[in-house]
Amino acid sequence: MAEMSMGQALNTALTLAMQGDDRVFLAGEGVGVSIHQDPNMPTHGLLEKFGPQRIKDTPVSEAAIAGLAVGASVMGLRPVVEIMFFPFITLASDMLVNHAGKLRYLSGGKSSFPLTVRVKAGIGFGAGCQHSHNLEAWIAHSPGLKLVWPSTPHDAKGLLLSAIFDPDPVIMVEDMMLYWMKGEVPEGDYRIPIGQARLVAEGTDCTVVAYGAALYTALKGVKALAAEGITCDIIDLRSLVPLDKACLLSSVRKTGRLVVVHEANRFCGYGAELAAIAAEEAFRDLKGPIQRVAAPQIPVPGSPPQEQFYKPSAESVAAAIRAAIRG
């Protein structure tokens, strides 16, 4: 075990994958030479280690970057491409939604597309709505794409290695605000299975589900309720597609309550699906109304107080848990 930041953990995963398998290459805007010179950036130093044949800085061409991944993967390579900010995925979306996610199906299962797209995401760095906009619901709504989102350095490394060596297309969302967050990371190659959630804390009164940076908001909200004698199951989803339905439902059946926390817009957000699954499949075990803590239906605003207003807060999580319990 070593203590390192999430950015360094991701860097370690990329290094291991590239050392162990010549089929792995990286491509994206600034994955080789970046405007940032921070060792906490996931691709920091990889150009020096692996050279320009395998670390490919690309033109500012998201469709071509994603198309490169689609075409190279069906040829047997293991491309790992980067989309610099989550909202830019709209520019790559035809290649991802209509091709990465569908071509295997259209081939009747003959062709495989083992590609990984790393997407840098996050809200809270004052860049406004065209650099901050979590679009996970778009991806989750598109068949054929897997979707993972780590919240710790440990999971970041294990999930990225799983993603790179998965036989199908995986979108990995990285919360940039967590790049500097430190944690214990095991040495060597290990994998966090895609589709497996993590029970972060156990409690009796409510199930709280979150992923990525929102997990920390959820944790703070639950902690604030300890004084009131309220305890919660806290689930870090880690994998949004496929979803660990068993973990979600067994917890909801136990606590009888569900609060979902995410930084994306509430309306048609990923949390709506979790709420619907709980309502359909655990209705008789529910003791109170399902609550969603999410962003209002507005773009991410630029001014710091407005941006804070947009994001779920620990207080709003605590209030939602109380509302779920009150019934």
Partner: protein, 328 residues
């Protein structure tokens, strides 16, 4: 530039392929009249056979092709099994995609026709990925991607051309300019009336060819593919041809002047080449009749195979999204 001499057996092969493609698509036209026989809209390349045949004949077996919605000719030229193509077109389980692709998304990995997209302009970025893999693994292979004059307006095509030239990828861009994008002519949708000039913008060779002359296409393709294979980067061919049947079989071409169709009918690539080989003594009337009969028999056999094949069970729709184990 004078054409390189083409051996007689290759000339016969070029004609035989065009005849097979024409008969295959004429059969589809015929089956469209049969209520309920073919699902969806049939998009045909009647009149464009020389492009598919001329380009593909210049490729090596380990080269890759990426096709589009007007794919039948590309795939048959590449050697795809007509039985499995026709079965897929009918939505049968014995089709190339076990029924999931239908007529519009036919890909045949067995003959390195690896990817087909009906999203206009989607082929070139994926083809750049395939060409990158060929370069990365030093396979010596080349990728050829077919797209239309309509696709030439898509940003993805421009991104792919820029990337391919920047990285010197072994990628042949084949623009089949069939004079129509939907119901719009190039003068209504394209900033240039010579798409091959786009090559200059991306620092790659760009050459226009008579797309209804199979020998011209084949000759140019051989030179351009040699360029791509030599490590000098991509190349662009604009093959000027004509979409004889409209966008799809339900398109009545009400927006097209009849005289335009008549003009191009006289330039039919199959009839022209048949006449050329006959008058040049490369093929006899008897051989020609045999070639026609073989094509018809092959197509009839494909139809018989497809008709007697079963439809896939409805719930088989759930498989093939991901590599097993499936997760619903």
């Amino acid at each position: 530039m004078a054409l390189q001499p083409i051996p007689a057996d290759m000339q016969q092969h070029l004609l035989a392929q065009m005849v097979l493609i024409r008969r295959f698509e004429e059969k589809i036209i015929n089956l469209c009249q049969k209520e309920g026989c073919l699902p969806g809209m049939q998009i045909l390349a009647v009149g464009q056979e020389a492009v598919a045949v001329g380009i593909v004949a210049a490729l090596e077996p380990n080269d890759i092709i990426v096709s589009n919605h007007r794919s039948h000719g590309h795939l048959l030229a590449r050697g795809a099994n007509p039985d499995a193509l026709m079965a897929e077109i009918m939505g049968k389980v014995s089709g190339v995609g076990h029924g999931k692709a239908g007529t519009l998304h036919l890909s045949v990995p067995e003959v390195n026709a690896l990817m087909t997209s009906t999203v206009v302009g989607a082929g070139p970025p994926m083809a750049a990925g395939a060409a990158f893999a060929q370069q990365y693994c030093a396979t010596g292979g080349v990728t050829a991607v077919f797209f239309g004059d309509g696709a030439a307006a898509e940003g993805s095509v421009h991104e792919a051309m820029n990337l391919a030239s920047l990285w010197k990828l072994p990628l042949l861009f084949v623009c089949e300019n069939n004079c129509w994008a939907g119901a719009q002519k190039p003068s209504q949708h394209c900033s240039t009336q010579d798409i091959s000039k786009r090559g200059e913008a991306y620092d790659m060779p760009g050459v226009r060819v008579d797309g209804n002359d199979v020998e011209q296409v084949y000759d140019l393709a051989r030179r351009m593919i040699a360029h791509c294979r030599s490590g000098q980067g991509p190349a662009l061919i604009e093959a000027k041809t004509y979409r004889m049947r409209g966008h799809g079989e339900k398109d009545r071409q009400h927006y097209v002047d009849k005289s335009e169709i008549e003009y191009w009918a006289k330039l039919c690539p199959v009839a022209r080449y048949r006449q050329k080989l006959l008058s040049g003594g490369v093929i006899s009337e008897t051989q020609l009749l045999k070639m026609e009969r073989q094509a018809i028999e092959r197509v009839e056999a494909a139809v018989a195979f497809a008709e007697k094949s079963a439809y896939p069970p409805p719930e088989s729709a759930l498989s093939d999204v991901w590599t097993a184990p499936e997760n619903a």
